[in-house]
């Protein structure tokens, strides 16, 4: 640990040419390649968000024009949802650690894994092209008939981009599912698997079942827009609400693609830094599956005021409340895991604390929106915006950073500054709350979302929100800087800097190209800290 020279051959230094990266089949390298693209998309989406927040500092539309504003929030949504949140944890962290965690040399289909990265990049390029050609202004939801008949923006290019990217997500899910079924090391039974693997498995279910539906829905939209087919066209008797049904059949479960893997990360990090097994392992594992499956039964809660039958709304409201339970169970189990632990306050754990606080608010405000009578008032207001940012940024992105900090030493072999990371976590937590908590109040006051200009009485809260967003910007930049710094100047991390259990910590940091010198043989559960001989706190 004293030397900064990395140990012998590893997956990073085994080849140095550009081609060795572009044609690699190594899941670890592919994970890093995703990291690069996703980070770029995150920066891009952040720039769009900054534009939105600057505009909203004043009630008048004085920073950008209405058309520009509409393009900004649409592209912010598209970039963040399809190119950051969905791939972030599965495709970066999942790719990197899944085979390591189950003791495999690679994922089941390394070539398909590489292919899915290329597909992802091609989809991203199409979307970037759409942005370069003036962007798209439909909102990331592409509701018809605006998107098919009225919008004068690059709907087709963006649609093609999303269609292509969808296949990347499908291929990753397929690959992971087969990997988990077929590639586990001897002795790695289902109930010895780390909970992150369970979470990835549940995510794969959603990716496999949901993503094709959004692909075909975007395809139908494209046929209608480009060729004049009539599937959602009200002039022919088509129903625009059908588009919303099909769109949300994927896009609601997609929220679980975003949040399930970070939940898995949280289970790993909590167990590691509490030095004890996750409380109620099997409940946490099965709640992931329950969320994945129940997640498919609730989509029409996005449609309560969209003109669906009130009886149908009742059914979906009930099911939406039901899906809250497995999430609650996870939260309670994480809390209970802390009980009588030996809690080591390292940076990844600070991010977990942040995750718990924000996810709690995000999850509980979901109950407001699942309530029929209340959703009529809250739908399409800033309350909804605040709610899903608490889930997707407060939950998914906090979880992603927790995992990134947790596995960074394994990925790079280097350690970042713990105090800088702790400071960044606190800064992001504070900035996030300042940004989005006022939006709950704005929402209940009745400020609709996607408004370029707004009524004067909403200004104070909007200024607070913009101030918070600046803190967030500083926080994320800080993370990027100390992580990059650590790659060049960081001290060597050692094979297991956190003293964690799990197969990924048994190999060297960074791992060798095929992960393990010998195929490991698993003899115990995932989080058996007591067996390691240290005394109980």
């Amino acid at each position: 640990m004293t030397t900064t020279v990395l140990p012998r051959v590893n997956y990073l230094n085994v080849r140095h040419t550009l081609a060795s990266w572009l044609f690699t089949k190594d899941h670890k390298r592919i994970g890093l390649m995703y990291l690069v693209v996703v980070t770029a998309a995150f920066a891009l989406g952040g720039v769009f968000a900054a534009g939105v927040r600057i505009e909203l500092t004043t009630p008048e539309g004085d920073f950008v024009s209405a058309d520009t504003y509409n393009r900004l929030f649409t592209m912010h949504g598209v970039a963040m949802v399809f190119f950051v949140l969905i791939p972030a944890v599965p495709a970066i962290l999942g790719n990197f650690v899944l085979p390591l965690m189950i003791g495999a040399k690679d994922v089941a289909f390394p070539k398909i894994n590489l292919l899915s990265w290329y597909v992802f990049v091609i989809g991203f390029v199409f979307t970037l092209a759409a942005m370069a050609f003036g962007g798209v202004d439909t909102g990331w939801t592409f509701y018809t008939p605006y998107s098919t008949q009225f919008s004068n923006s690059s709907v087709m290019l963006t649609g093609i981009g999303i269609f292509i990217t969808g296949f990347s997500s499908i291929l990753t899910g397929l690959n992971f599912m087969v990997t988990i079924h077929r590639m586990r090391a001897p002795g790695m039974t289902w109930f010895r698997m780390p909970l992150f693997v369970w979470a990835l498995y549940a995510t794969s279910i959603v990716q496999i079942l949901g993503t094709p539906v959004i692909a075909i829905t975007v395809g139908m939209l494209a046929l209608e827009r480009a060729l004049g087919f009539g599937i959602f066209d009200p002039r022919l008797g088509g129903d625009p609400v059908l588009f919303q049904h099909l769109f949300w059949f994927y896009s609601h479960p997609a929220v679980y693609i975003m949040i399930l893997p970070p939940m898995g990360v949280i289970s790993e990090v909590i167990a590691c830094f509490s030095r004890k097994p996750v409380f109620g392992y099997s409940f946490v594992a099965f709640s992931s599956l329950a969320i994945a499956i129940f997640g498919f039964l609730v989509w029409a809660h996005h449609l309560f005021v969209a003109g669906i039958s009130p009886y149908s709304a009742m059914v979906f409201s009930f099911l939406s409340f039901a899906v809250a339970i497995p999430s609650a169970v996870k939260t309670f189990n994480w809390t209970a895991t802390l009980y009588k632990g030996a809690i080591w306050w390292q940076a990844p754990m600070i991010w977990v604390f942040g995750f718990l606080g924000l996810f709690l608010v995000g999850g509980l405000t979901g109950l407001f929106l699942a309530s029929l009578g209340l959703d009529v008032h809250l739908h399409d207001t800033y309350f909804v915006v605040a709610h899903f940012h608490y889930i997707m940024v407060g939950g998914a992105i906090m979880g992603y950073f927790s995992g990134l900090h947790y596995w960074w030493p394994k990925m790079t072999g280097k350690m970042y500054s713990n105090s800088a990371a702790t400071f960044a976590a606190v800064l992001v937590f504070v900035g996030f709350n300042l940004t989005f908590f006022p939006q709950f109040i704005l929402g209940y006051l009745g400020m609709p979302r996607r408004y370029h200009v707004y009524a004067e009485e909403f200004q104070v809260l909007n200024v607070m929100s913009t101030a918070g967003a600046s803190l967030l910007g500083v926080g994320y930049t800080l993370i990027a800087s100390y992580l990059i710094h650590s790659v060049f100047r960081g001290r060597a991390a050692g094979d297991n800097p956190w003293g964690a259990t799990g197969l990924e910590w048994e190999t060297q940091s960074p791992p060798i190209p095929e992960n393990f010198d010998e195929t490991p043989i698993v003899t115990g559960g995932a989080y058996e800290y007591t067996k390691r001989g240290a005394k109980v706190a």
Binding site: L236, D239, V241, L242, I308, S309, Y311, A313
Partner: protein, 121 residues
């Protein structure tokens, strides 16, 4: 590699059954069964598909996992259809008093009246 090898006769039998069922479904199409038209055609199609899945695709001889995956896809297809139809089939149930339809009424046909032709008196 231990794959199941079916005798050729099985394949011929299945093919024969599929041909017979095709003939049946075509002939039934020319008989008006009223409300049964759709269920009958669909049942025959499901039967044919099942034969292909079980014998041509060897699911009959495959692992439980394969069967589960096969079932899962149809289950979620039904979720998509069924839950969407809870909306469409119950839209007509709710009409607010006074004759005006409530929040969820059936879609009607109409123009999006591009430029309202002036009919102001």
């Amino acid at each position: 590699m231990a794959g199941h090898i079916s005798p050729k006769s099985t394949y011929y039998t299945i093919f024969g059954s599929l041909m017979v069922l095709t003939a049946v479904t075509v002939s039934v199409a020319f008989v008006n069964l009223g409300a049964l038209n759709f269920p009958v055609a669909l049942s025959i199609a499901i039967l044919k598909a099942t034969l292909v899945i079980l014998f041509f695709m060897h699911v009959k001889y495959s692992s439980r996992l394969t069967k589960l995956i096969c079932g899962t896809s149809f289950f979620f297809l039904l979720v998509l259809f069924g839950l969407t139809l809870t909306d469409y089939l119950s839209r007509g149930w709710f009409a607010a008093p006074g004759g005006t339809a409530g929040a969820g009424t059936q879609v009607t046909i109409g123009p999006a009246a591009p430029e309202p032709a002036s009919v102001e008196p």
